[in-house]
Structures are given as C-alpha cells and as structure tokens.
C-alpha cells in the first residue's frame, strides 16, 4: 500500500525537455508559447483562485515586464541575466503602487480599478514614443546570448529557437515551483482563508488588505517574468500586451483550465494555445469559436477542464 506516488510533474518536465529533439520548429515554437502563457495564467490564479480577487488588469504587469526586458536589452544592451529578473521586479513595483489602491476596493470596483490602471499602462506604452516606441512597439528585441548552450554536449546541434525554449522551460519551471511553494505555505493557506471569508479573517486578527496587497505584488512579479520572456519570444513588444482584451484572455485561460486547481490555469493555457493553432488553420473566426467555448464553459463546466476531470475521476473511482 505504501507505493510512492509517481512524480508526475517531474515526468512532465522531462517529456517537455525532449520537445526540441522532435526536430520541428513549430512544436518548439508552440511549446515555448504555452510555457510562458502558463506562467502568466498561474500568476493570475494566485489572485483569482487563491485570494479571490478578480483582477481585470493583469495584462498590465505582463506588459510592464515585457517592456522592461525589451528596453533594457535593446536600448541599453543589458544582458538577459539582469534584464529578466528586472522584468519581475519592475512589474512587482508597479503592482505594489497600483495594488495599494486596488485592495481598498471590493468586488466590481476592484475589477474596474485594476482595469483602469492597466489602461493607463497601455496608454503610456501606446503614446510614449521615445521610450516604448509608441504605437509601433519595439520590434527586434535581441535574443539572449545562448552560445554557451552549444558547448553543452548534445545541445550543439539544436537551433537557437530550441536553445531559447530550453531556457524558457527551465526558468518557467523554477518560477512555477516557487509559486507552488507559496500557495502550499502557511502564507498561501492564509490567502485561501481570506478568499473564503474576509470578514472572519479580519476578525481573527489577519491584516486582510496587507495579505491581499502582498498577493497582488507576487502575482505581478510572476506576470512580469512571463512578460519578459514573451517579449523576447515574440521578437518584439507592443502596447497590445497591456490592453484590456489581453487581461480578458488570461482570465479565460485560467477559468478554462479551472481556477480551483493549481495546474488548472496551465492546462487552460495549453488547451487554448493548441486550439487557437488548430482552429486558425481552418478559419479566421477564432474569436467567435472562443466566445462560444467560453459560454459553454460558463454554463456547463464551472470547474473548468481540470475541475471536470477531477469530478469524472471521482465518479469512476466511486463505482
């Protein structure tokens, strides 16, 4: 009976590590995309699923991270080792300032203020031509120097895109591991208490706003890291990264996968990216399909994909 559980996460990581050797540029491309977006969606779920805060402006921190890395690397020639963590730190700084005001509001007003701040970020990116490139964005963000990877035995034959994927995978894995530790810690438990019953949490002496603000900052930090990677992956950063529709997209990923489970948002990011890839090859009306999926989800599968799988699994075991 005391069989050790299979370390699925480790198995998954090892499988993902093999993708570059499939030899398809497309697979590596999609896998990189998914890895980055999974981190973005997981960071949002710290607010949405764990703390119970509906942020409608999470793209702001993704955008700030992307611009930070891009500006540092392209304009100032700062190496990736510095520019990448800077994305998280700068995004967290903005999240601290914006969040300070946001956590004072509840429910719909919280959602609206996060949206308003995100639109401010967007407007700055859109108009501040000298620094952000304005409407045109910043194309040709340089790749980090990954020449050292070629020196590692077995990696020499891979393309630079594959090298970047391995880097992204490693960084995202570390970030996700950190997030996982955070939500499983006593601190993470406290966030769940606040989600379930903020009045009661306040009553037993928890500083609810402080906890909410700290979760907001942490979520902003990881969203910023995801943004930093995405700007390089995308070979350019654009004001769209911070637009409100981008915030809606990441919300959809999170809900689709299931916000009640740690891995839900990652599954959502994967499913949505793969679906997008498949459907756009048949029709240009991807948003229409996405809208319909979303409606089916809202009415039919409240727990998202992971929630449905867990429920199904429970039912099968019960038999």
């Amino acid at each position: 009976m005391s069989r050790r559980p299979v370390p699925w996460v480790l198995v998954l990581f090892l499988v993902l590590l093999c993708i570059p050797w499939l030899g398809s540029r497309l697979y590596t491309f999609i896998a990189t995309d998914i890895a980055i977006l999974a981190l973005f969606a997981l960071s949002l779920n710290l607010l949405l699923g764990y703390t119970g805060l509906v942020s409608f402006g999470h793209a702001a921190y993704f955008g700030i991270g992307a611009y930070t890395t891009a500006i540092l690397m392209k304009t100032y020639g700062v190496p990736f080792v510095v520019a990448f963590p800077a994305a998280g730190i700068v995004a967290a700084g903005f999240a601290l300032v914006f969040g300070f005001f946001c956590v004072r509001l509840t429910k719909i007003y919280f959602a609206m203020l996060t949206l308003a701040f995100a639109q401010i970020v967007w407007a700055i990116c859109f108009k501040w031509n000298d620094v952000t490139g304005g409407e045109q964005g910043m194309p040709n963000v340089p790749y980090p120097d990954l020449g050292w990877m070629s020196a590692i035995p077995g990696l020499g034959s891979l393309r630079s895109g594959d090298h970047f994927y391995l880097l992204v995978l490693a960084l995202v894995a570390v970030a996700i591991a950190a997030l996982r530790r955070i939500v499983a810690s006593p601190y993470g438990r406290m966030l769940s208490v606040i989600r379930e019953n903020p009045e009661r949490a306040e009553f037993i002496g928890i500083n609810v706003r402080l906890y909410q603000l700290s979760a907001f900052v942490v979520a902003g930090f990881f969203a910023g890291l995801a943004g930093g990677l995405f700007g390089i992956f995308n070979r350019g950063v654009f004001p769209d990264f911070a637009y409100w529709t981008k915030s809606a997209e990441v919300l959809i990923m999170t809900i689709l996968g299931g916000m009640g489970h740690f891995w839900g948002p990652a599954v959502g990011a994967m499913v949505l990216t793969l679906l997008n890839q498949q459907i756009t090859s048949y029709t240009e009306y991807w948003p229409l399909i996405l809208g319909i999926i979303l409606i089916v989800l809202l009415f039919g599968f409240r727990g998202g994909i992971v929630g449905a799988v867990v429920a199904l699994n429970r039912r099968l075991r019960g038999r």
Partner: protein, 295 residues
Amino acid sequence: MPEPSFLFGQFLGGLTAAMFLFTIGAGLSLIFGVLRVLNFAHGSFYMFGAYIAWQVMTWLGPGTEYFWLAALGAATGVAVLGVVIERLLLRHLYGREELYQLLFTYALVLILADSVKIIWGTGQLSASRPPSMTGAVQIFGTTVPYYNLFIMLLGPAIALGLWLLMHRTRLGRMIRAAVMDREMLEALGANVGVLYTVMFAVGAFLAGLGGALVTPVKSIVPGMDVEVIVEVFIIVVIGGLGSLWGTFLGAVVFGQVLAFGILIMPRFSIFAVFALMAIILIVRPWGLLGKPLSR
C-alpha cells in the same frame, strides 16, 4: 493664447463627442444600476447599431426620413438582440459571481465582433448626414454643422426622457424599487424578471441608437466596439455607475478633458482621462454623483 472662437469650437467639439458617449453610456449605466451587471458587450451593441443603420440606409437610399427610420430601426433591432441575449442566457447568471458575468459579456464581445465581420466584411463603411442637416450655422465665429447641433440637443433630451421615465411613470417606480430591494419587490407581486428584460432592452436600444447616429461622423469599422467601450466605461465610472446625471456629467467632463487636453499635451490626453478615472475610483469608487452600493 488661442483665439476665443477657436476655443469655443473646441468646446463644442468636446460637447458633441460627450453627447454621443452619453447616449451610449446612459444605457450601460442603467443596466448596471438595475441588473448590477457590467456589460462589456455594450460597445458591441453600439457597433451593431451602426452596421444595421448603414444596412437600412443602403436599402432605402438617401433621404432625411430614411435616415431617421434607419436609426430607429437599428436601435430597435439591437434592443431585440438584447432581449434575446438576456432571456436566453444572461438571466441564468444573475446569482453568480461578478467574474462569470464579466466573462459572459466578454464572450458576447468576441461573438458579436466576428458576426459583424461575417455579415458585413472587414472593410470600412461610411454613411452621410441626413440631407436636411448637411448645412451649418455660425455661432460666435465658429462653424457648427446642424447635425452636431442636433446631437448636442439630443443628449439632454435623452437625459430628460430617461429621468421622466424613471421618476414619473409606474415602470420607473418599479425599476427604482428593484434597485433598492429586488426581493421585496418580488414579494409584493411584481414580475422583476420582466423588469430586468425591459431594462436590458432599453439599455441596448440606447447603445444601438448611439451607434446609428454616429455613422455620419465616424467610419463604420470592426474594432469600433472595443474602442468605444473603454471610453464609455470611463464616463460611467467618473459620473457614478447607475447614476443618470452622473453619466451625463462624466460624459461632459470626458469630452472637455479630451478636447482641451489635446491642446495642452497632445500625446497624453488619453492618459489624462484614464488617470482621472483611476483617481475617482480611488477616492470615490461610486463616482461623482453615484451612491455607494448597499451590498
């Protein structure tokens, strides 16, 4: 110092833009006030209004009476669309968390945007002013097209009409009662479900009307939905969600900040209105003229 007549023209331009936004925003604000649903698809209703009006005008041909017919037809068509959406889908989400309602209306944004592309294509369409309003009048040395003058008068007229509806009719009394306490109103035997549908239809009608009336001054393109919803959000948040006069005030403030902001800091006037919205939300989340939510 620029010429006074120039400043006056700028003021009137801002006012015209404000009255367009008020027409649309009044609908959004009404829907939120009663249903407590923040409707992202309101911009899509506006876009549908514009496209339907263009379609009807194309069928009927030029003519002042046809223009008004097209505008009314478009607004009614959008209202019907609103009724269908509310009856079939939205009403099942009233008890759920805000997040689900927000995402539902966002799903509508996606679906309606693509529907427009499927029906009318992605090209840019345009309509002309009703023939009887192509002229202009001189006011304090500024040329003001009759049509702009009409829009500037229409805004207050709509505000007054809605005020009369809310305060001088039985329906209005019931709506206000529903805002105060839905359950009590139900207990008294009122059919609140129908009331909600009516409110959603009225809101959609106003969005459709705004879309139809904007066709002579703006080009009709996919993407006009997402653009307008942001502006309308700003005005209702500044004025106070659910407050009619607040929305009016919000629209006027927005119009003037944009009109004069563009003179002072051309690139960052849009930034100024977002900042204004954020400041209002921070110090007075219920807006300039709104009331704090009871729940």
